[in-house]
């Protein structure tokens, strides 16, 4: 499978901080996969996603899109962000307009789409994220979970080839989480590559088919999910914990497990 996005020897230090947040990172995001970026608080997940979207210029290393290096030139960056969509960890920081519909359409107009197309896509995405009733509400009146949905909708509506999601389930209740995963499944089936940053090992286990583990800004693991979750020792060593399902599964009698694979979902997101 060909890499969609590649990072090669990327390092990044925030201005005015002594230590690099990302250190000599070489990583490929494969097209069509559902990749999870796992790691503890402060390991550099959000930073990595911001760099991948070209939002902070890097001084060491290179980022490639299908083999093309990223250069920080306005027209190239513009194209870059048409292909890549990023949802921020904090939805409050992502929303920029006054109402829900205005905010979503802002990103659509930036694609130079005709008005009718914008209206069409807006209508559709409001339905997909069950936001119809909120369309004209001022953003500051929304709850955090609602803001999260607006932020996601604003990115998905632009139909990027690669979507970077920074802890997309935070603040969502079970029902909305279930909904989000259904929506992600749908755009994934349409050929969108998905990357999700999280520290939730259960979520990673249930959803990912590729797992990347970061630790203090460095790459620890980049492997197929099956492989990662068959070496539980590594996860223990990195103190990421073991998926609950696997822990439960391993406690079942042997004859029970013999002829089955452990399930991926606890039925956790199906209500």
């Amino acid at each position: 499978m060909s890499p969609l996005l590649e990072l090669q020897g990327v390092s990044y230090t925030y201005p005015s901080t002594p230590h690099p947040a990302i250190q000599n990172l070489t990583l490929s995001i494969l097209a069509g996969k559902k990749t999870v970026i796992l790691g503890h608080n402060g390991c550099g997940k959000s930073t990595l996603l911001l760099l991948a979207d070209g939002l902070f210029p890097i001084h060491t290393g290179t980022i490639y899109w299908k083999g093309e290096p990223l250069r920080y030139h306005p027209s190239i960056l513009n194209l870059w962000r048409q292909r890549i969509g990023l949802t921020f960890q904090d939805p409050e920081q992502q929303l920029i307009a006054a109402t829900v519909a205005e905010d979503i359409s802002y990103g659509l107009f930036n694609l130079s789409l005709p008005k009718t197309e914008v209206a069409l896509r807006l209508h559709q995405v409001l339905i997909d994220f069950s936001l119809q009733d909120l369309a004209d509400r001022p953003l500051h009146q929304l709850s955090l979970g609602q803001k999260r949905r607006v932020a996601l909708a604003g990115v998905i509506a632009r139909r990027p080839e690669l979507v970077l999601l920074d802890e997309p389930t935070a603040y969502l209740d079970r029902w909305q989480t279930h909904h989000l995963f259904k929506e992600l499944e749908r755009i994934h089936a349409n050929g969108t590559t998905l990357v999700m940053a999280t520290h939730d090992i259960d979520l990673a286990y249930a959803w990912a088919d590729w797992v990347v583990v970061l630790h203090e800004g460095q790459l620890m693991v980049s492997q197929p999910a099956l492989q990662v979750f068959s070496q539980l020792e590594v996860l223990k060593q990195l103190r990421l914990g073991i998926p609950l399902i696997l822990e439960y599964w391993n406690s079942l009698p042997d004859e029970w497990r013999k002829n089955h694979l452990p399930p991926r979902w606890f039925d956790r997101f199906s209500i």
């Binding site: 201005p15 939002l55 902070f56 306005p74 962000r81 990023l86 920029i96 130079s112």
Partner: protein, 269 residues
């Protein structure tokens, strides 16, 4: 999210010097700048810049960009000093001090020679004072400044007001950078038309967002029992440094002496 001026302040290499002494030093040097000649003021500018950039380790780029903002503010006041307008009939009277101008209707608009000289003098003096201000901003954390204020018996209400203003400015900058980052992430500023739309949106949201953030900040303060006196524990113990004390003392004496000599040579009266 990015580039906070006060992050630089908290990490400056002169952080450990006693804040009172730094403040007094800056005030004394700025006082000298107000009373001396342009030549001495130029030296003061260079000297304080060395303190801030070289001794305190504030990145050169950060220093110059902040200074540029200050200079732009100053430049906006220059036209008022330099350009004069008088009725056309009086034009001959100002011939000697005019550096050229144009007639608009019954009025003569011209650039005045004394005005220009005055603006230049003020410019150099301001430059020296800006360097002093930047030295204070970049080497003394604001909480330290506030505690000096308390020691010097500045009224509590004033200190509280300063503190809140300071928070407001940083929130404003924070919101500005964050909004702009979010806009860029969704392809804002991609062409001239969208540039205008994006900038307009930024402008209209900036104030609202800052006020909302500020409101939350005050709710947070109240929830934690704010009673008009925000004091934080600062564990940075300050240490007296002889090396810097000597340099500042000798430097100040040198400046005064230099100015005195300058007076003797060029303006013996």
């Amino acid at each position: 999210m990015h580039h906070h001026l006060d992050t630089y302040t908290y990490q400056n290499h002169l952080r450990t010097l006693p804040p009172q002494q730094k403040l007094i030093f800056a005030l004394v040097v700025m006082g000298i700048a107000l009373m001396t000649h342009a030549f001495t003021q130029g030296l003061i500018f260079i000297w304080l810049t060395i303190w801030t950039v070289y001794y305190a380790g504030i990145p050169y780029k950060v220093y110059t960009s902040t200074l540029t903002v200050m200079i732009i503010f100053f430049l906006t006041s220059v036209p008022a000093l330099v350009v004069e307008i008088i009725p056309t009939d009086l034009q001959t009277m100002v011939h000697a001090k005019s550096l050229g101008g144009i007639e608009i209707g019954n009025w003569f608009v011209f650039i005045s020679q004394p005005g220009l000289t005055q603006a230049l003098e003020m410019g150099i003096r301001s430059l020296a004072c800006f360097a002093g201000l930047l030295f204070i901003i970049f080497t003394i954390p604001f909480t330290d400044l506030l505690s000096i204020g308390r020691q010097w018996r500045v009224p509590t209400i004033l200190i509280e007001l300063l503190m809140l203003m300071y928070r407001f400015i940083f929130m404003f900058l924070d919101v500005l950078l964050q909004l702009q980052l979010a806009q860029r992430a969704r392809g804002g500023y991609c062409n001239r038309r969208r540039w205008m739309v994006s900038a307009g949106l930024l402008g209209s949201q900036l104030m609202i967002r800052t006020l909302q953030r500020y409101q939350q900040f005050s709710i947070g303060l109240t929830a934690r029992g704010f009673n008009g006196d925000l004091q934080v524990y600062s564990n940075s113990s300050s240490a007296y440094s002889q090396r810097y004390a000597i340099e500042s003392f000798i430097g100040c004496m040198g400046l005064v002496l230099l100015n005195f000599m300058y007076n003797l040579i060029f303006h013996p009266s």
